[in-house]
């Protein structure tokens, strides 16, 4: 039994040794469509939530594809799609110090304030 077969992914064991190539080849001509990020409103009253991405030739087709891919079982009542390239993100790292300043402003939270127990409705 070869040592380079592993079963970590879903439907069963396949070779996953380091000689399985993963680096994308530089494409001579791009064959695939642009990448879209998909947001679905689960039901009325809820925000749209990011659910994944897909490739589509244009905005309209992206909405149709998103319906087929992400709402086959009534998962949504509304879909937003946006080209991934058009999204501006806070930083290249999810642990950015950008969010650190809000960490020490405890006075922004209601629990910061001590109110006697005999004060009602506050």
């Amino acid at each position: 039994m070869s040592a380079d077969v592993t079963a970590e992914g879903g439907h069963g064991a396949v070779p996953l040794s380091p000689d399985v190539p993963v680096e994308p080849k530089p494409a001579v001509t791009r064959r695939d469509w642009p990448l879209y990020e998909v947001f679905v409103r689960g039901k009325r009253g809820l925000n749209h939530v990011h659910v994944g991405s897909l490739h589509a030739p244009d905005d309209e087709m992206a909405v149709h594809a998103a319906r087929d891919l992400y709402t086959r079982r009534n998962e949504g009542v509304s879909i937003w799609v946006v080209r991934a390239a058009d999204i501006t993100a806070s930083s290249p790292d999810e642990k950015d110090p950008m969010f650190a300043p809000s960490g020490d402003k405890v006075y922004r939270h209601p629990t910061f304030y001590e109110i006697p127990e005999n004060v009602p409705h506050i």
């Binding site: 992914g9 879903g10 069963g12 994308p24 290249p92």
Partner: protein, 321 residues
């Protein structure tokens, strides 16, 4: 205003590694834009790509029965299931792309057979009972493998797997129900079910991969939170789950050594033929060539659709501007 992030000195690799290790240790998720070790990224791409390939190739054995399903009800169910497999493949390619992979390139690597898909899909579906047995045993085994992946340390993969697992439950139940219906039928139908079970049982056990003492890559994947249980643990869980289901169905699992160990409450089972597994995985299974041929045809014969839609989108964008 200049972006402050650009002016920050790049943290050294040791600090980044420490941050990564702390995230894993705290059972928090790694997200796409986080720093991650190169080995982690590559291992995940390999794993997610083969998983996606398996879903896409997995459409074929059952798809072969779409036009021969015995009723409109069965056809609608099978169509929904095969469509789900396409969806699972796309969720997973989408997760792989967050790691810097390219979907079209992954498909090329599949067709060029540089990346593999699960060996289970290289067996043919000879009768309609195979559709039921695939749902019951193959999807049942896949669920055992996949449920722990919902807690994978890589966020996009874990989220894709949660979605996949919800849908797999329908797959397994429709398969079992199909088999129960056939087992209430004629002697010929019952024999068909038993024959399908005989053919699919051992390949289903092989899906969990080589025994633990023969899978040296597992330790690193465990440490990274990519793998949660060992191959043998999951295989044992599958056997213990399946034996009572087989009894209710009224079929015999084709293993004379299969017996309940009353001391442990677990089932002992016979030796798996890893030579057969190796043969199938290296391309000598009954349907390897056909699976790849059809995937290649789907890419090449439909390329004009992709190109036409791109041309239309470009023309449309030009007119709007």
């Amino acid at each position: 205003m200049s972006a402050p992030t650009l002016e920050r000195p790049a943290p050294d690799e040791a600090a980044l590694q420490q941050q990564f290790d702390a995230t894993i240790a705290a059972e928090h998720r790694i997200e796409p834009r986080d720093w991650m070790p190169e080995g982690y990224r590559k291992t995940l791409i390999r794993q997610i790509a083969q998983h996606a390939h398996s879903e896409i190739i997995g459409m074929q054995p059952e798809g072969d029965w779409l036009l021969a399903a015995p009723s409109l009800r069965r056809k609608a169910i099978l169509l929904a299931k095969v469509q789900d497999e396409a969806g699972h493949g796309l969720y997973l390619y989408s997760a792989a792309e967050t790691l810097g992979a390219d979907r079209a390139d992954l498909t090329d690597k599949l067709i060029e057979q540089k990346q593999k898909y699960s060996s289970i899909f290289n067996y043919p579906t000879l009768t309609y009972a195979d559709v039921g047995v695939i749902g019951w045993l193959v999807d049942g085994a896949a669920i055992c493998n996949q449920v722990p992946l919902c807690r994978s340390s890589y966020g996009p993969y874990a989220r894709a797997m949660i979605r996949v697992c919800k849908e797999e439950s329908f797959h397994q139940r429709q398969g079992y129900e199909l088999l129960m219906t056939m087992m209430r039928g004629t002697a010929e139908q019952q024999a068909m079910v038993q024959d399908a079970v005989d053919r699919w049982w051992w390949p289903s056990l092989m899906m969990f991969g080589p025994p633990d003492d023969d899978s040296p890559n597992s330790a690193q994947s465990m440490a990274w939170g990519i793998k949660r249980h060992s191959n043998d643990e999951l295989r044992q869980r599958f056997v213990d789950m399946t034996v009572p289901q087989a009894e209710v169905l009224g079929v015999t699992l084709p293993d004379p050594d299969l017996a309940l160990d009353t001391a442990t409450g677990k089932h002992r089972f016979g030796t798996i033929d890893w030579t057969e597994f190796k043969q199938v995985i290296t391309g000598n299974g009954p349907a390897n060539a056909e699976r790849i041929r059809r995937r290649r045809a789907a890419r090449d014969d439909n390329a004009w659709v992709t190109e036409a839609a791109t041309a239309y989108a470009q023309k449309h964008a030009g007119a709007a501007a």
